[in-house]
């Protein structure tokens, strides 16, 4: 590229056509060489995409046969990368089910076991580590997140004078992230879970700007998961490994909850602070909690997002 000005040394007008031609050719050759040199980093590109992946249809437009092919492609990719044959399914929402989460702020001790169980269950990148749950250490008496501490690391929890508030995707009834996505790559399913088609996301990160809860996370580089830590029980809209350049977030562990199990964070909580279930079933634990507790909180209620994630207290 630097040679270009040197190749055109003559301020005097070239009066012969042949000289003009040679000069032009030299210019183009230098230009092409410089362009090739500047493109050199592309040589390190591997596994970025494939013809199948590039042309893959939008989730909602896939026929069952298309989906079968895609699930096989995903399983093959995972096996090639991690030497583990996964069990990838496309789990649909169940009829008559709307999932709701309730979290007891009196009980949470801030141990962050949920954070790590989530990473393990959902095949998040370990380096750089992506976490769907952020536990805020809050001074007694205030729900102002600006007073919170995120990176607390005392000898032991809980600490006197503080309470702990885990925040993850609030599964809003009115999700701003869904509204802003320019390509419909994220949407709300009928069981209330907002999901992402990771193969459709263009990585514009508008949803991250829109989310009032910091729930969305971006794969700034190729995610790395040690092969022996991979969870092979996977769902298309859930915990299958993501690629570089797309967003992800908590999906209430669709690979578990749509198969009749609890989310990993509920199972692991040693304090029993986390409750999960079907709000359409009046007998469910969450229905009971929401109908009997005097006060519960939807985080940033004033924004009109109407979360399906409720914080409550033992009074």
């Amino acid at each position: 590229m630097d040679s270009q000005p040197n190749d055109t040394p003559t301020p005097a007008p070239p009066d012969m056509n042949r000289r003009g031609f040679l000069r032009t050719s030299a210019m183009f050759a230098a230009g092409a060489a410089a362009l090739t040199a500047s493109l050199k980093p592309l040589l390190q590109l591997k596994d970025f995409t494939s013809v199948d992946k590039f042309l893959q249809k939008y989730y909602k437009e896939m026929t069952p046969e298309d989906m079968e092919k895609v699930l096989k492609r995903i399983a093959d990719d995972v096996e090639r990368q991690y030497q583990v044959r996964p069990h990838v399914r496309d789990l649909k929402p169940m009829d008559g089910v709307e999932f709701v989460y309730a979290l007891n702020l009196t009980r949470c001790i801030g141990c962050r076991k949920c954070v790590h169980a989530c990473v393990k269950e959902n095949n998040q990148s370990r380096s750089p580590e992506i976490q769907y749950i952020r536990v805020l250490k809050m001074p007694h008496g205030s729900l102002d997140v600006e007073k919170s501490e995120h990176n607390y690391s005392p000898e032991a929890v809980p600490e006197k004078g503080f309470f702990y508030m885990p925040v993850q995707c609030q599964q809003c009834r009115n999700p701003p992230c869904v509204k802003v996505c320019p390509v419909h790559a994220t949407w709300q399913e009928k069981d209330g879970i907002t999901v992402i088609d990771y193969d459709w996301c263009i990585g514009c990160r508008y949803c991250m700007a829109a989310c009032p809860y910091g729930a969305r996370h971006f794969n700034f580089t190729k995610p790395t998961i040690p092969a022996d830590r991979l969870n092979p029980e996977m769902a298309y809209l859930g915990n299958r490994p993501r690629s570089m350049g797309v967003t992800e977030k908590c999906h209430f562990c669709v690979q578990r909850t749509r198969a009749g199990r609890y989310p990993a964070c509920v199972e692991v909580c040693p304090a029993g602070a986390r409750k999960f279930g079907n709000i359409l079933d009046p007998e469910s634990e969450v229905s009971k909690i929401l109908s009997t507790k005097r006060v519960f909180i939807q985080l940033k209620e004033e924004l009109g997002t109407s979360p399906r994630f409720f914080y409550y207290f033992d009074v």
Binding site: P13, L39, R134, P182, V183, I202, C204, A209
Partner: protein, 425 residues
């Protein structure tokens, strides 16, 4: 029909050819820009391979200088109308031909905008998902889908207007008003819309109180109509210096009054925002506190914003005083306005929206070297485009490149002294 297409192809070919002809200064300038563009491409390739991790962005500050530059340049593109309005609505003949230079600038600005959005994408290979009809276009819900439509529409409108007027001039015939006047008026409304839609992109986010304010739209327009015409004033003077194209001082002074009024409105709107936030002092003042004074020991943007404020205020004073009737001072005021608004509307607009984060953390953002190179590359690309456009447009407007002299190839092999070789700095 075939004849017409043939003629048009000859026209295009001659335009392309002339872009490669110039004196040593032209080659040096283009060589410099090309070098920077290539460095930018190289930096982007690194980003393409390794991901956006090579930038300074994070989950917490998920947009950075790419989107900041994008926002600024949409304003520059919109500002072309500030030349169009006086000509077509107020019949200011002084600016008549200059409209083309303004619109060419907006074409270059839109190209830069599109480049900035593209480099910001995590999956540029999924770009086709955005194409209406082929992909899944979330219209009208997503403001980003509006932006895709209005920006591309504006690009086409301006390409048509400039292309048609220049080709008519090339052919030596009077342009038919039916073929461009309706488009000119559409473009005026459209220009306002591109910047309003870009403002709404931010304003529509309830979770970001710094952006979720109705003053953002008006402030965007006021600052655009300051920075855009300032850039045009500077560009016109460069054109006047390096070519024999006549541009009167009066034309520049007309633009000066536009910049003058816009800057006053811009500063006034800023005062409105500052009063509302600081006087009431709700929790939402945190972002502005971070921007102007720093928050909890984090001060990354403080020197930037005070530079911007100082520049804007000094520019305003200069523009209001009669000193800026002298071009020397006008140029200083223009440079100050451009830099001031670039900071205020770029970094000063995008970053505080993310700081503190929605969960109350303060994560500072600093653009990385690679990210900066990509930005420089795109700016150089825009300047390269604008230079090429001018290289084509000026000889056409002056009649040196026209249908009449089609047979004589002298322009491409032997630059005549008038257009190319006769520089008078």
């Amino acid at each position: 029909m075939i004849k017409a297409i043939h003629n048009y192809i000859i026209f295009l070919r001659r335009c392309v050819k002339i872009a490669f002809v110039g004196d040593w200064r032209y080659y040096a300038w283009m060589g410099l820009l090309t070098t920077i563009v290539l460095l930018g491409i190289n930096a982007y390739c690194k980003q393409f391979v390794n991901g956006l991790i090579v930038t300074g962005m994070s989950d917490e500050v998920s947009w950075g200088v790419y989107i900041a530059n994008f926002t600024f340049l949409v304003g520059v593109a919109a500002a072309a109308v500030m030349l169009v309005i006086p000509v077509y609505i107020y019949r200011n003949e002084e600016l008549y031909d200059l409209v083309i230079f303004g619109e060419l600038l907006s074409v270059a600005a839109i190209l830069m905008c599109l480049a900035f959005v593209t480099v910001d994408l995590g999956r540029p290979d999924h770009f086709w998902h955005l194409i209406p009809g082929i992909g899944q276009f979330n219209f009208p819900a997503s403001m980003l889908s509006w932006d895709v439509l209005v920006l591309n529409g504006y690009l086409l409108l301006n390409l048509h207007i400039c292309g048609y007027l220049l080709y008519s001039r090339y052919c030596g015939r009077k342009p038919s008003p039916w073929f461009y006047i309706p488009f000119v008026f559409t473009a005026i409304a459209w220009a306002i819309s591109i910047h309003t839609v870009t403002a709404f992109l931010y304003v529509g986010l309830g979770g970001r109180p710094f952006w979720n304010s109705s003053i953002v739209g008006p402030r965007f327009l006021a600052s655009a109509f300051t920075a855009g015409p300032s850039l045009i004033i500077l560009a016109l003077q460069v054109i006047r210096h390096v070519t024999l194209y006549k541009i009167s001082d009066k034309a520049l002074l007309t633009l000066r009054s536009i910049v003058q009024v816009s800057m006053i409105i811009n500063v006034f709107l800023l005062l409105n925002e500052l009063f509302k936030e600081f006087y009431t002092g709700t929790v939402h003042v945190a972002s502005l506190k971070y921007l102007f004074f720093g928050l909890h020991g984090h001060h990354a943007l403080v020197p930037w914003i005070w530079t911007a404020i100082t520049f804007n205020l000094s520019a305003m004073v200069m523009l209001v005083l009669p000193v800026s009737r002298s071009l020397k001072w006008l140029n200083v005021a223009c440079v100050l306005s451009i830099v001031g608004i670039w900071i205020e509307k770029g970094m000063g607009m995008v970053i505080p929206g993310f700081t503190p984060t929605t969960l109350g953390e303060i994560i500072e953002y600093h653009p990385s070297a690679n990210e900066t190179l990509v930005c420089l590359g795109i700016w150089a690309f825009g300047l390269l485009c604008y230079t090429i456009f001018l290289r084509m447009a000026v000889p056409i407007l002056q009649g040196q490149l026209s249908r009449a002299n089609e047979g004589s190839d002298h322009l491409t092999t032997q630059p005549p002294p008038k257009v190319v070789a006769d520089f008078h700095f």
